[in-house]
Amino acid sequence: MTPTNDPGGAALSRRALLRLGAGASLAAGLGFGGAACSPAGTGDAVPSGKPGLGGTLRVGLYAGANDLNPLDSTSELTRWVTDPVAESLYAYDDTGTSVPRLAAAEPTVSPDGLTWTIPLKPGVRFHNGDPFTAEHVVACLNYANNTSSPSEWIIYFFGYLAEASAPDPLTVRLQLVKRYGLLRSHLGNMPISHKDFLTRKDAVMGTGPYKLTRVTIGTGYVLDRNPDYHGPRPGPDQIAIDVIPDGTTRTVNLQEGKIHIATQVPPQMVRVLEKAPGLAVYKVDAPVDLLAYPRIGKAPFDNPLFRQAVAYGMDRKGVLDTVFQGDATIGQGPVGPAVIGWDPAFTPYPVVTDVDRARGLLQQSGVKDPSFTLTISNRAEMRSIGQLLAEGWKKVGIDVNIEVLDGGPWTQKWITGKYDFIMGYYQSGLGSGNANFLTLSPAETTNILNSGYTNPEVDGLIQRTWASADPAERTGLIKQLNTTLVRDAVMIPPVYPKTVIAQSKRVTGLSQGALKLSRLDLASLRILS
C-alpha cells in the first residue's frame, strides 16, 4: 500500500533539475524580470459570463499517481482522477450526507447485524456498454478483501467481511464475521469498477459521468463526458488534468489562466492568490492528517514520560505560523477538526512550546542523552516542519536528526517500523470519510502499522467504534479513544492542515461540502461563457 502521496521519484528529479537550472539563471540575473511578482493573466480581472455546460475544465494536480486503480489506492492522486469515472454504491451530497448512487437504496441489515443486503440501481451501464450488475460489485469486494491483492482496502475489510455474493443481478449480499457498523461508511468511499479492470493499473472503467480517454504517464489525463450517464448531465465536456509538481508553477499557471483549478496551493502562495480578484481560494478543514507516530516499541519512545516531553516540546505555533501562515489548526492527537469526535476544547498540549514542562518531563523520564531521528516525507512543508520541530526540541535538550524520504521509502519505513518518529502528510478522507479509520487503526495492537503501542483499553474501544452502527455512539467512542491516545502521546501531530484549493472565477460550483471529505467534485463545475 502507498498511504503517502508524494510525487514519484522520476517526476521529482526532473522537476528539481529544471528548477535548479532556473535557480541558476535567476541568480545569474537572467530571466528574473517577470517571474517575481504581480500575478498576470486572468487572476487580475474578475471574469464575467454565464455558467454553462460544455467546455474543457483544466485542473493542476501536484503529482501523477503510480496506480490508477481506485481499488488499489486511496490517495487523492488516484481518486481525484478516477472519481468522475468510477462511482461508489453511495455518494456524498452537498451536505456531506451519504446517499445512494449505484445502490438503489440503503442496505438492509439483518437483526444480528451480520448480513447486509444492498439493492442496485437498474439500467446503469459501464462505459464499454456492459450492464452494471451485482457480479461487478462482488468482484470489487472480493478484490478488496483479498490479502494477495495490492488493494489498500484490505485494511477496511479484512477480518470483517466473510463473503460477498450476488443472489441476483441487482442484489449484493455481504456476510460479515462480526458486527461492522462502519461498513456503511466504507461502501460510500470505495469505488466500483468493471470486474475486468480490477488488475489494471493504467486504466479504469466505471459507470461515472466521465470516461478516462487518455493517460500520459507523469504528465496528465484526459476525461471525456459520458453521454450515456445514468445521472444528471455533468458540466464540462472534457476534463484535462495536468500534473504540475511544482507548487509555484501550479499557482502561476492558475494566475495565467492555463488551469481553472490548482490543487495543493503552497501555504506561502495563499496570500498572493487571495489578493488576485479573479481567483478564489478555499481553505477547508478536511480529513488531512500530519501522521505523527513515535515508535513506541523501542527506546526512547517506549518511555511515556519521554513521549510527553516530546509532545510538550513541540513547537506547534511555529509550525502553524511559519509553515502554514496560520491556515491550520493546532494539533493534539489523531482526531482533527474535519473528523467525528473532534473536541476543540480538548487541548492538553500547549500552543507554544512549554520548555520548562518538557524539560521536567525529560528529567523525570530518566532518558540519558536524549536523541532520535525524525523521518519525514519529501515535501517542502514537511521539510520545514521537521526543521522547526527539531529546533524546538533542541531547546528542550533533545537532539533530533532529520531524515527526508520519498514516498516509496517513507512508506517502507512506516510498514517495517524501522523509525524513531515518522511524520507524513496524508489525506485519509478518501478511504475513511470522516471516521478517521486509517489514522486511528494503527493504535490497535494487531494492526500492521502498529507502532508498538499496546493498550487493551484502546483495543476494546477501537473494536466497539468500528462495530457501532450508531453515529452518535461512534462519535463518543472516538472522543474517548482520542483522549487516551493524546494522553499517552501515541499520535502527536503538531497541526491539522487544511485542504487548500484555488480556482479561477471562470468556473463556478466547486462543492465545498465535497472538499470537507477530501473530494474534488469536478463533474458539477460550470465554466463561464
Binding site: 528529479s13 527539531a390 531524515e403
Partner: protein, 307 residues
C-alpha cells in the same frame, strides 16, 4: 652607485623557494583579467565558507521573522523559517567547499596511481583491466551513480564494515569514486606522453626501482592532473548542490546550498527575491571562479610552463 655585497653565507641561505617564487612571479606577470576575476571569486567564496561561519549566528536557529529582507541585522535576509540566510549560505558554502575539495582529493589519490600504472604498463592486461573497469564506472554519469547509491543506502549515515559514514562522508565518497575514471584517464594520458621521454629510460638504466621511476614521472604528471582536479572541484560543488536540491544530499537542518535553493524556489513569487537569488549567486559565482582559475591553470600548463 651603491653596491651591496651580500656575504656568501647569507646568499647561500636564501631559500630556493624564494628565488623560485620570484622567478615565477616574474614569468607569470599579472594574471589575465578573467583569471584575476576568478581568483577574486574564489577568495570571496573561501572567506564566505571559512571565515563568515565564525561570526555569523547559528544557521539552524530562528533568529528573525520568516522572510525578512536584507538588513543590517541580516545581511542576506532570512529564510522561510526565520533563519539568517547569510549564516546558512556560509555554512552551505563551507560544506560545498569541503565536499568539493575532499571528493576531488579522494578521486585523485585513487585515480592517479591507477592511471599511471596502467600507462606504465600500456597495452598489458593490467592496463586493459584497469581501463575496462573504469569505463564501466564512467558509463554511469557522475550524478546518476551518486543518486543510485544514495537511493539504495538512504540519506542518513550508513555503516560499512563497522565504520559509520556520515552523510557528508558518503557524498564525498560517491563523488570521489565517480570522478575516478576521469582523473585516471587524464593521469594515464599524461603518463603515456611522459614515459616516452628519455629520462624514464635513463632512470631505469640507472637502476632505480619502478616505484622511484614512477615518482619521477609523477612530478610531471601531477601538475596537469591537479589543474584538471581544480576544474572538477567546481563540478563537485555543483553535484553536491544538486544532490542537496533533490534532498539526496546532506539532510536538513544542516544547510546546503542545494537545499537552500530547493526551499527558496517556493518563495520566488512572494517577493522574497533575496532568498533564491543570493545563495544562487554564491553557487554560480563559486563555480565560475573555480572554472576560470582552473582554465587558467590548464592554459599555463598547456603552454609548457614548467615551473
Amino acid at each position: 652607485m651603491t653596491s651591496v655585497t651580500v656575504p656568501d653565507r647569507i646568499s647561500g641561505a636564501t631559500p630556493a623557494w624564494r628565488s623560485r617564487l620570484r622567478s615565477w612571479a616574474r614569468k607569470t606577470g599579472r594574471p589575465a583579467p578573467l583569471t584575476a576575476a576568478g581568483i577574486a571569486l574564489l577568495v570571496g567564496f573561501t572567506v564566505l565558507a571559512l571565515v563568515v561561519p565564525l561570526f555569523a549566528p547559528d544557521p539552524r536557529a530562528t533568529t528573525g521573522l520568516p522572510l525578512e529582507s536584507p538588513s543590517a541585522g541580516h545581511f542576506m535576509g532570512t529564510d522561510h523559517l526565520g533563519r539568517d540566510l547569510l549564516a546558512r549560505t556560509a555554512a552551505g558554502a563551507r560544506l560545498s567547499l569541503a565536499v568539493g575539495f575532499f571528493s576531488v582529493l579522494l578521486g585523485l589519490v585513487l585515480a592517479v596511481p591507477l592511471g599511471m600504472v596502467a600507462a606504465y604498463r600500456a597495452g598489458s592486461w593490467l592496463d586493459d583491466a584497469v581501463m575496462r573497469v573504469l569505463e564501466t564506472v564512467q558509463a554511469l554519469p557522475v550524478f546518476v551513480f551518486a543518486m543510485f547509491v544514495i537511493g539504495l543506502t538512504g540519506t542518513g549515515s550508513s555503516s560499512v564494515a563497522g565504520i559509520t559514514l556520515s552523510m557528508s562522508t558518503k557524498v564525498v565518497l560517491l563523488l570521489g569514486i565517480s570522478f575516478l575514471p576521469y582523473f585516471a584517464r587524464v593521469a594515464r594520458a599524461q603518463t603515456l606522453a611522459e614515459v616516452h621521454e628519455d629520462y624514464v629510460g635513463a632512470l631505469r638504466v640507472l637502476g632505480l626501482p619502478r616505484r622511484r621511476v614512477l615518482g619521477e614521472v609523477l612530478v610531471n604528471v601531477l601538475p596537469p592532473v591537479l589543474a584538471q582536479g581544480f576544474l572538477w572541484i567546481a563540478i563537485a560543488i555543483f553535484a553536491e548542490s544538486a544532490l542537496g536540491f533533490l534532498a539526496l544530499g546532506v539532510q536538513p537542518p544542516t544547510p546546503t546550498l542545494g537545499g537552500i535553493l530547493a526551499d527558496s524556489g517556493n518563495y520566488v513569487l512572494v517577493d522574497a527575491w533575496w532568498y533564491s537569488v543570493l545563495p544562487g549567486l554564491v553557487l554560480v559565482l563559486a563555480v565560475t571562479g573555480f572554472n576560470l582559475v582552473g582554465d587558467a591553470l590548464n592554459d599555463r600548463i598547456d603552454r609548457g610552463g614548467s615551473q
